[in-house]
């Protein structure tokens, strides 16, 4: 029974992700599931189908169209239970609201870390209870979006933000904490050695990526970005 419930949560997370509204927690859960094997194929295929369906819905052309796909989609739909018929309306509202606010608060986090790095503490292990339910993890800074709002339907929304931020990477340590232990986020300035190391590996990586050529000169822009003027 808990398996079905778990599966339902995964499906909901996947739907949220499709709508660009998944929380970090949900993404973590999906990633964990997709890399855990077992139901991974199923989840991956569903993700792929949703993506494709969203495109078809927008009337876009999809690359190699698999003629067997239409059939497989209709079969899959038959098998899937209807989504988002959530009896708990209040919880749903709360969820929507928190999703609504998160991008803003993330932006706010970015704004406060101009020169110091923020250290959020998290648990690396996602403890799984006997019922297969994941224990909540702590939210933490992630790759900062260029725009703080989710992209609504496309790329024509250039919410420019010219706030000045340091070229330093945002650093967050992991703590392999005890399961269930609540760690509070802490702030700390990483050592100069660490920053040098991070900067160097980012530069080396970017130059290697530039050689791949698939991204044109973009990696060079990345490689040069964090460079410090000679002292």
């Amino acid at each position: 029974m808990s398996h079905g419930k778990h599966q339902q949560r995964l499906n909901e997370s996947l739907s949220a992700m499709m709508d660009g509204e998944a929380s970090e927690l949900e993404i973590q859960r999906l990633l964990k599931e997709s890399s855990a094997g077992g139901g991974a194929d199923d989840l991956g295929q569903r993700w792929s189908r949703y993506q494709l369906a969203a495109s078809v819905m927008r009337g876009e052309q999809v690359a190699p169209v698999d003629l067997g796909l239409a059939a497989s989609i209709s079969v899959a739909i038959d098998e899937e239970p209807a989504h988002h018929v959530q009896p708990d309306v209040a919880a749903n509202d709360a969820g929507a609201r928190s999703r609504w606010w998160r991008p803003l608060s993330r932006g706010a986090v970015a704004a406060t870390v101009a020169f110091a790095a923020v250290l959020g503490v998290q648990q690396i292990q996602q403890p799984v209870t006997s019922g297969g339910e994941l224990v909540a993890e702590v939210e933490r800074p992630v790759q900062q979006p260029v725009q703080s709002a989710p992209r609504p339907s496309g790329f024509y929304v250039p919410a420019l933000n010219t706030r000045s931020v340091s070229t330093m990477p945002l650093v967050t340590p992991e703590q392999r904490g005890v399961a269930g232990q609540q760690n509070l986020p802490a702030q700390l300035v990483p050592s100069a050695d660490l920053m040098r190391h991070l900067n160097r590996v980012m530069v080396e990586h970017s130059e290697q990526a530039a050689q791949m050529g698939s991204q044109g000169m973009v990696p060079f822009a990345r490689a040069t970005y964090g460079e410090q003027p000679p002292e």
């Binding site: 739907s15 949220a16 992700m17 993404i27 990633l31 890399s35 792929s48 993506q51 369906a53 495109s55 876009e60 052309q61 999809v62 190699p64 239409a70 989609i73 209709s74 739909i77 989504h83 988002h84 749903n92 929507a96 999703r99 609504w100 250290l119 690396i124 992630v142 790759q143 900062q144 979006p145 260029v146 703080s148 989710p150 250039p158 420019l160 070229t167 990477p169 945002l170 967050t172 340590p173 992991e174 050695d193 190391h197 590996v201 980012m202 080396e204 990586h205 290697q208 990526a209 530039a210 050689q211 791949m212 050529g213 044109g216 000169m217 060079f220 822009a221 990345r222 970005y225 460079e227």
Partner: protein
């Protein structure tokens, strides 16, 4: 605007499902009825000489799902982009936006003696410049590991199409030029999506966005001005004293690594491996995204476990003990941070 989109997730979702339900059924019905018609006609005309019409009907029915013109297929633009990436000379002004910050750059790219010379100079913020010379020419030769994975090769493009949905998203005008917008949407959660506006004339990406699974744009690189005339030698020379020069001729080496990556995201292949200070770097690519794994013995001051994020680039640090020896692991790339973490956790010494 934001509010409106955020308040109807359920509606959008159910609409999606409804469409899914309806679309295949309609298509199936159409095809079925066409077939019935065709069979009926074939039966009716079996005695006469009219055998062709039914065939025609079938051909038309099948033709609906096939691409109409070559330049309307995503594959055509993928291919065109790949060609431009290898052969084009240009100079231009670019905006580069990430970490909530907008920078402007001057980029120049020329081909001298069969080698690429590329120069990037930041026009805003502190003065930063990079001149890269001699990259790729020999890495791209057939037989090199790199040539198998890059987007410019046929297999590389197939790999990209196997891992990403490639979608045409209409036309756009960038840097006073007409472009076709191509979206590369990952089929799994282990890579970032890309939105590329490809110049219709040359195939050069005029604008490229990196997009995460939540649809947030992590990085935007966009031409403001583009000059496609042949590049002067003087334009390829560093303009500032502090310019860094990158001439790593041996960069696409392929040493035999002593490390084993027990997990990499599907579709990622090792494309280069070389020695760096105190260790090794291993480069993996799926034809579009790239990540690099550094495994180094750096001493106790690098005793750090966690992530660092700058724009779309993440670095995930961990360590591994082999006997008494401690090695620092750093996974760097434009990939989701969770994916970098999974890669780092799967690293082991080869026996």
């Amino acid at each position: 605007m934001l509010k409106r989109f955020q308040t109807f997730p359920d509606k959008a979702n159910s609409l999606l499902l409804a469409l899914l339900l309806v679309a295949p059924v309609i298509q199936a019905q159409d095809q079925a009825s066409e077939q019935v018609k065709a069979q009926a006609q074939a039966a009716a005309s079996a005695d006469s000489e009219l055998v062709r019409p039914p065939l025609l009907v079938v051909a038309q029915a099948g033709g609906e799902s096939a691409p109409l013109d070559e330049d309307q297929t995503p594959a055509f633009w993928l291919n065109k982009m790949a060609e431009a990436v290898t052969s084009l000379e240009y100079r231009g002004l670019v905006t580069f936006e990430h970490v909530g910050m907008l920078e402007t750059l001057e980029v120049v790219r020329g081909i001298r003696g069969g080698e690429l010379v590329e120069r990037v100079r930041y026009l805003s913020g502190t003065s930063r410049e990079l001149v890269s010379r001699g990259h790729d020419a020999h890495c791209r030769r057939e037989g090199s590991p790199l040539s198998r994975a890059g987007i410019w090769s046929r297999s590389g493009q197939q790999n990209v199409q196997a891992l990403y949905h490639v979608l045409l998203r209409g036309d756009e005008r960038v840097a006073d030029r007409d472009a076709v917008v191509l979206e590369l949407r990952p089929k799994d959660m282990h890579r970032l999506g890309m939105m590329v506006s490809v110049d219709k004339e040359t195939g050069l990406p005029l604008k490229s966005l990196l997009v995460n699974a939540n649809g947030q744009i992590l990085e935007r690189y966009q031409f403001v001005q583009l000059d496609l005339s042949p590049v002067d030698d003087s334009a390829l020379v560093a303009q500032t004293d502090s310019a860094r020069k990158s001439e790593t001729m041996a960069a696409c080496g392929s040493i035999v690594s002593r490390w084993d990556l027990r997990w990499v995201p599907p579709g990622f292949k090792a494309v280069a491996a070389r020695e760096v200070e105190d260790g090794e770097m291993l480069v993996y690519s799926d034809g579009l995204s790239v990540f690099t794994v550094f495994i180094q013995s750096l001493g106790p001051e690098m005793n750090f476990n966690g992530r660092a994020v700058r724009g779309a680039t993440v670095a995930y640090m961990d360590h591994i003990l082999v006997g008494e020896q401690r090695y620092t692991i750093t996974v760097v790339g434009e990939i989701p941070v969770q994916t970098a973490q999974l890669v780092a956790r799967g690293i082991a010494a080869k026996n």
